[in-house]
């Protein structure tokens, strides 16, 4: 897969002229601070809360302006819940969002409406995310109309956006979603998300349901749009190849928590967390000689209602020791760390954690298991 994203030559760099920018280029686009969401499980006659699903448990990270942050993890690890929390589609229990320096939904800062104009989302299921009874043009024009545009200008904008995502407005504008292919529908969804001129786009498994050739087209389209419109992406996927292709940084989630975060090259070349290593080992190779015979990771993820004590991964981790069961490893301060830093929530990375494979605090030496023993 080659890098096909090219800047449109003649037009000036949109970054220099973006009037929406408030915090300056160094201010992250979005800061997520200790966000939490526990879903209650209710049972019995009085609907008493009997337990909680810890879907998103104390997650912090930031997204820089103009970058693509990939979020990966198994099904059910809380990726989509996180996306919906960021969009305010479900209410968070705790935590803060800071959009370009302004806290969201608090007394001083951006209103919820401001967030919605700046933050949009492309949903995974391209069919159910379009109203089957509305022509696609009207679906796209709905957002601007809600935000106060006249019917005529909203429609013009919708048609321009259709052209922008590669669909002829005259031919497709009046069609219904069932008259389009999966790739075309996902293009319409992207156009709908762009209709409010957002700065940050959350792509929740946006290309997962498409076949490979269409997926490539849509990924190229996303790359072009990012350059043209000065967008920032949060790209949620379980396809590690796609994430590697599109992301600048990668965040790995396991059972509602961040286990590893860092630049894409560092994570793919030198994964620190055993879970990331297992995920990467699951990737299918293009070379038929390198078959994966057995799954590197056995079993299902533990129940998020009752997550394991200590490190949540210790039940499936090949390196688990005493300390992993009793003490939860910390990721470090993901908000203070530089974007080029590579953090992992694993005792084997932290010196003096008590794990036998942890690096010696005196000699700054990589642990044994990283020196090629595992490869």
């Amino acid at each position: 897969m080659t890098d096909v994203i090219e800047t449109t030559g003649s037009s000036p760099d949109p970054r220099a002229t973006d009037t929406r920018d408030r915090g300056g280029p160094a201010q992250p686009m979005l800061i997520v601070e200790n966000i939490k969401k526990y879903f209650p499980i209710r049972a019995g006659l009085l609907n008493k809360k009997v337990a909680e699903v810890k879907a998103v448990d104390d997650i912090s990270f930031y997204v820089l302006k103009g970058e693509t942050l990939g979020i990966v993890g198994e099904s059910g690890c809380g990726k989509s819940t996180l996306a919906r929390l960021l969009m305010y589609l479900i209410d968070k229990d705790e935590g803060h969002l800071i959009l370009d320096g302004d806290p969201v939904g608090e007394k001083t800062g951006t209103s919820l409406d401001g967030l919605r104009r700046s933050l949009q989302m492309v949903f995974q299921d391209s069919y159910s995310s379009l109203n089957p009874r509305l022509p696609i043009e009207n679906s796209i024009a709905y957002g601007p109309k809600v935000q106060g545009a006249t019917a005529k200008s909203a429609k013009e904008q919708a048609r321009a956006l259709l052209e922008k995502v590669g669909l002829k407005a005259d031919r497709f504008g009046q069609r219904y979603p069932h008259e389009l292919s999966g790739g075309q529908k996902q293009r319409v969804n992207i156009a709908r998300a762009l209709a409010l001129d957002p700065r940050l786009l959350i792509l929740d498994e946006a290309v997962s349901a498409l076949d490979k050739s269409v997926e490539a087209q849509v990924l190229n389209l996303l790359g072009e749009l990012k350059e043209q419109l000065n967008l920032t992406y949060i790209f949620i996927s379980h396809d590690l190849h796609v994430v590697k292709y599109i992301s600048d940084r990668v965040l790995v989630m396991y059972l509602g928590q961040v286990v590893e975060i860092g630049p894409v090259d560092k994570i793919y070349e030198n994964p620190l967390h055993p879970y990331t290593q297992a995920l990467l080992a699951c990737r299918l190779s293009m070379d038929p000689d390198e078959r994966v015979d057995s799954a590197p990771l056995a079993g299902d993820p533990p129940n998020p209602v009752n997550p394991p004590s200590g490190c949540r991964f210790h039940t499936r981790c090949p390196f688990a020791e005493e300390v992993c069961m009793s003490k939860a490893p910390s990721l470090g301060d993901a908000l203070r760390a530089d974007a080029s830093e590579h953090l992992a929530a694993c005792h084997m990375v932290h010196a003096g954690s008590g794990h036998s494979k942890a690096p010696n605090p005196d000699t700054r030496q990589l642990p044994l298991w990283q020196q090629g023993e595992m490869r």
Partner: protein
């Protein structure tokens, strides 16, 4: 993986593309309905019945309430009374035309109001879910617990007879099933991503319901309410038959069926006429609703 720039994707600009015919939603519904001859015939039949009822004062050859003891229970094909006379010598043609007025009113008006009220409650219950849903739907369940005829008799019995009370009765009886259909359809739509996408664009709940939910809930509710028209007519006939609806001498198909019952051995064909009218009307409404259901299905 090849690089296909988005701007020049599949369409060759030099080639002229035949312009696709643009149809709105209702345009495409009509396009499917156009070839459904059974439904079209039944729609024409309903239109004829409605017109006949509206223009009954001008169409009916005689006064429907003027009795004549000399001409009691004449057979069908009588020189003066084309469809015979009833047990009080009143002209059956006139009475059937006038009776259609009351019966159609009983079929359409309660269903219309029940659709409005039940549909609104159903959409609210389905959209908000949770406690709102529980309060509304459990209240509906109380009415559901009774068979519809029994419920109608109970309400009509306590309200008393008369056309107005009969309509109120039928509306109350028809609200719970319509509410349930609207609630189910809304809850289904509510869970789809396009509602979340609309919320993400900052739309108010009212705007989402009117421009996204309603259009998707409309067709199942409309189709279901059209099946209720025939049920409502039959229920109204039943109430009249029991003496809880319109009072004599007003003409009403149900009431006519009831009073002509005693004469069934004397003039069986005449006695069956009001029943035939009810039968034809309700079958026509049922077939039309069936056709509508197919025509309103976008994916067909």
């Amino acid at each position: 993986m090849t690089d296909i720039p988005a701007g020049s994707l599949p369409v060759d600009k030099s080639q002229s593309v035949p312009s696709t015919k643009v149809r709105g939603y209702w345009g495409s519904v009509w396009n499917r309905l156009r070839y459904d001859y059974v439904t079209l015939f039944c729609m024409a039949l309903i239109a004829a019945i409605v017109l006949a009822a509206i223009f009954a004062p001008w169409l009916s050859p005689m006064d429907p309430e003027k009795s004549s003891m000399a001409n009691r229970l004449r057979p069908i094909g009588h020189a003066k009374f084309g469809l015979g006379t009833d047990e009080q010598g009143r002209d059956m043609i006139s009475r059937l035309l006038w009776g259609g007025r009351v019966s159609l009113l009983m079929g359409i008006v309660p269903v219309f109001f029940a659709t409005l009220i039940g549909g609104a409650f159903g959409i609210i219950a389905g959209y908000y879910g949770g406690k709102v849903n529980m309060v509304i739907m459990r209240t509906m369940d109380v009415f559901f617990a009774f068979p519809s005829v029994l419920l109608a008799v109970a309400i009509a019995g306590s309200l008393g007879g008369g056309i107005g009370n009969q309509m109120i009765t039928l509306t109350v009886v028809l609200i719970p099933p319509l509410c349930r259909v609207a609630e189910t359809a809304t809850a289904q739509v509510r869970s789809l991503d396009f509602v979340d996408a609309a919320r993400a664009s900052g739309a108010s709940t009212y705007s989402i319901i009117t421009s996204h939910v309603l259009i998707n809930v409309l067709s199942p509710v409309l189709v279901y309410s059209s099946t209720l028209v025939s049920i409502s007519i039959i229920l109204a006939s039943g109430l009249s038959f029991l003496g809880l609806g319109v009072s004599p001498p007003t003409a009403d198909w149900g009431l006519m069926l009831s009073t002509l019952r005693q004469s069934i051995y004397v003039q069986p064909l005449v006695a069956a006429l009001p029943g035939v009218c009810i039968l034809i009307t309700s079958i026509a409404f049922n077939l039309v609703s069936d056709g509508l259901r197919q025509a309103m299905d976008v994916k067909a």
